[in-house]
């Protein structure tokens, strides 16, 4: 009886407030979802529905015309659409895999090996989170030029390897690995590299799934390095193809909607698959005092 009475002594939650709060949540959810729903619906609109007056939000007779037109549009261009798609995937995959490996390798000693200068290195990383990469734009332009990486994939990929958020999250996550586990492996004669690769890396799988989503977010679309450093048409990403189609004006509204939908689906799908791992990683993301 006593236990029940304590549990029933719950915090006061008025019904009215509950209703108000969840109405608010519902409204915001609709606000967040509407543009996405609109993007999906637009991609399937036939031409006459795109230009109907008054404009209608949702599609009536969905078709795949826009996707077909997209293929036709790029069928006889100098660089085929598939090349832009390949470039986007190449940069995103290589950049992400490299980032996950390099950032995890650096995170392991920062989290688990005692060496002088460790705290200074990590506070530099935290400080780097506090300003936008735009700040380093001018010197980076010179560095990339000196390294002879202008107009290569590397101008985009190499800086992406060094993304700060990834290292930060990985290091915070690795901290919770019990030291005893690493000590035991050392006693068994495993080298630091083996410990990192065969013991630590499998444990931190949720964290590298998280690094993947943030790296994708950086590289998949809207990467400013790609637009600044890559001039050759055959090295450009879907972003560039997108602005070319969009430059065609109103008639291209359909294909533009189709590309937007295709580009949006990839990161969102990755997030759906990895959501629980990401939340698990973010639980260690706090800045400790």
């Amino acid at each position: 009886m006593k236990g029940i009475s304590i549990r029933s002594k719950r915090v006061n939650r008025s019904w009215l407030m509950d209703i108000f709060l969840f109405l608010l949540l519902g409204l915001v959810a609709v606000f967040m979802a509407l543009p996405l729903v609109f993007t999906i619906s637009n991609a399937f609109k036939p031409l006459d529905e795109i230009f109907i007056f008054p404009p209608r939000f949702l599609v009536r007779n969905p078709t795949f015309d826009n996707f077909r037109n997209l293929v036709i549009l790029f069928a006889d261009t100098w660089v085929p659409f598939s090349r832009y798609v390949f470039n986007t995937f190449f940069i995103a995959i290589l950049g992400t895999v490299g980032h996950v490996i390099i950032a995890s390798a650096a995170a392991y000693p920062l989290a688990k090996v005692r060496f002088p200068g460790r705290n200074i290195l990590f506070s530099l990383v935290v400080m780097a989170l506090m300003f936008t990469p735009y700040v380093t734009q001018v010197p980076n332009y010179m560095t990339v030029t000196w390294l002879g990486m202008v107009d290569t994939y590397w101008a985009v990929i190499l800086p992406a390897f060094g993304m700060t958020l990834g290292l930060y999250l990985m290091k915070q996550f690795m901290e919770q690995i019990p030291d005893a586990l690493i000590e035991a492996a050392k006693v068994d004669g495993a080298s630091e590299y083996r410990i990192f690769w065969q013991i630590v890396m499998p444990i931190v799988k949720p964290a590298w799934l998280t690094l993947i989503i943030f790296s994708l977010q950086n590289l998949w679309t809207g990467n400013s390095a790609a637009t600044r450093f890559i001039y050759s048409e055959q090295l450009k990403t879907v972003d560039a193809a997108f602005s070319q189609i969009a430059a065609g004006g109103l008639v291209r509204t359909g294909p533009v909607a189709a590309v937007t939908l295709l580009m949006m689906l990839v990161p969102i799908t990755v997030f759906i698959v990895t959501q629980s791992n990401i939340i698990q990683t973010m639980s260690t993301s706090g800045i400790k005092e």
Binding site: L36, P116, T132, V135, M142
Partner: protein, 324 residues
């Protein structure tokens, strides 16, 4: 009486150089041993930190030095002292507009988006897991949907085909289409709206995770200790328990609030009408990648760097006091 305990100054002086030499030797040896023992650590750290120093740390320092020079990428940089900064604040009217826009924009989107991230994470937290996962997806999706935000140009397009215009005209709020994206009265507001739409991102996820990890027994103890309603529970138990996440989230939201550029460029044009959506970053892009006035661009970058870092450090100080 105390004499015995006082160290003999003469003795100390004689010993000092020898001891120092020994200490130095030991220290050097210690360092060498450190390096040898931590060889593995160094090898693992090297790839990341070489890239990190090349593309993040050095550029900040270079930018600081270049900001005192005239540099156009063709001739060698020429030292001109504070001239760039004087020009920025005394002559460059457009920069002052950009500064005003950026500060106004950050002052609105920063706090609102930060509180929204926490508030919605907190609301979602009480829901059953399936619904929670779904709502997390809906609220987070815009921030990872890449350049999907361009869809807002259709919603706000300026003729009567624009969805916002058609909607408002149908219900009689306006009689003729509004030029949403070209009218300086609306541009900053639209930029803020779209930025807010994009802002339930990394910090939002961190808060969801943080809330799930608050120790349940704290709430039970709180209820016994006389916490009366959910707001007290929030302030006295939940917020202090998530302080590390709150600090991380603040860093992310502040950095994003000051960094707005691409949305402004693609949505409202570059340069925007009357510079109504011009920000420090678009000004930086203008001088750094179009006019190639690298010294001047570096001065802009340095100003932005100082604003961001100081806002962040002050906020961190304030957040340390939450729930105290």
């Amino acid at each position: 009486m105390n004499a015995i305990y006082e160290p003999n100054p003469n003795l100390d002086q004689n010993k000092a150089p020898l001891a120092a030499k020994h200490r130095l030797k030991a220290k050097m040896l210690g360092h060498w041993k450190d390096v040898k023992r931590n060889k593995h650590a160094l090898v693992l750290l090297a790839p990341y930190f070489i890239i990190f120093f090349t593309f993040t740390v050095l550029p900040v320092l270079m930018s600081l030095v270049l900001s005192f020079t005239y540099f156009n990428m063709l001739e060698a940089p020429r030292w001109i002292g504070w001239a760039n900064y004087a020009r920025l604040f005394a002559q460059d009217d457009v920069f002052l507009i950009a500064l005003k826009n950026t500060l106004l924009f950050a002052a609105i989107t920063g706090p609102i988006s930060y509180m929204a991230c926490f508030f919605f994470a907190w609301l979602i937290n009480g829901l059953p897991p399936k619904l929670r996962a779904f709502l997390t997806l809906v609220l987070y999706a815009p921030s990872i949907a890449g350049n999907t935000y361009l869809i807002w140009t259709l919603l706000f397009s300026s003729d009567s085909y624009g969805y916002m215009n058609a909607f408002l005209m149908k219900w009689g709020f306006i009689l003729e289409p509004v030029q949403w994206l070209q009218d300086p009265r609306f541009m900053l507001a639209i930029l803020i709206l779209v930025q807010l739409w994009l802002s339930l991102g990394t910090a939002f996820l961190a808060f969801i995770a943080g809330l799930q990890n608050v120790d349940r027994t704290l709430y039970e103890a709180g209820a016994i200790d006389g916490i009366r309603n959910r707001w007290q529970e929030l302030w006295f138990i939940t917020l202090p328990a998530m302080r590390p996440q709150l600090m991380f989230g603040a860093v992310i939201q502040i950095t994003n609030a000051f960094a707005v550029a691409e949305i402004s460029i693609y949505l409202l044009g570059f340069p925007s009408v009357d510079y109504a959506a011009h920000t420090i970053v678009t000004h930086l892009i203008d001088y750094g990648t179009i006019r190639y006035e690298m010294g001047y661009a570096s001065a802009i970058a340095t100003v932005l760097f100082v604003i961001m870092l100081s806002t962040n450090l002050i906020t961190q100080k304030l957040l340390r006091k939450v729930g105290d």
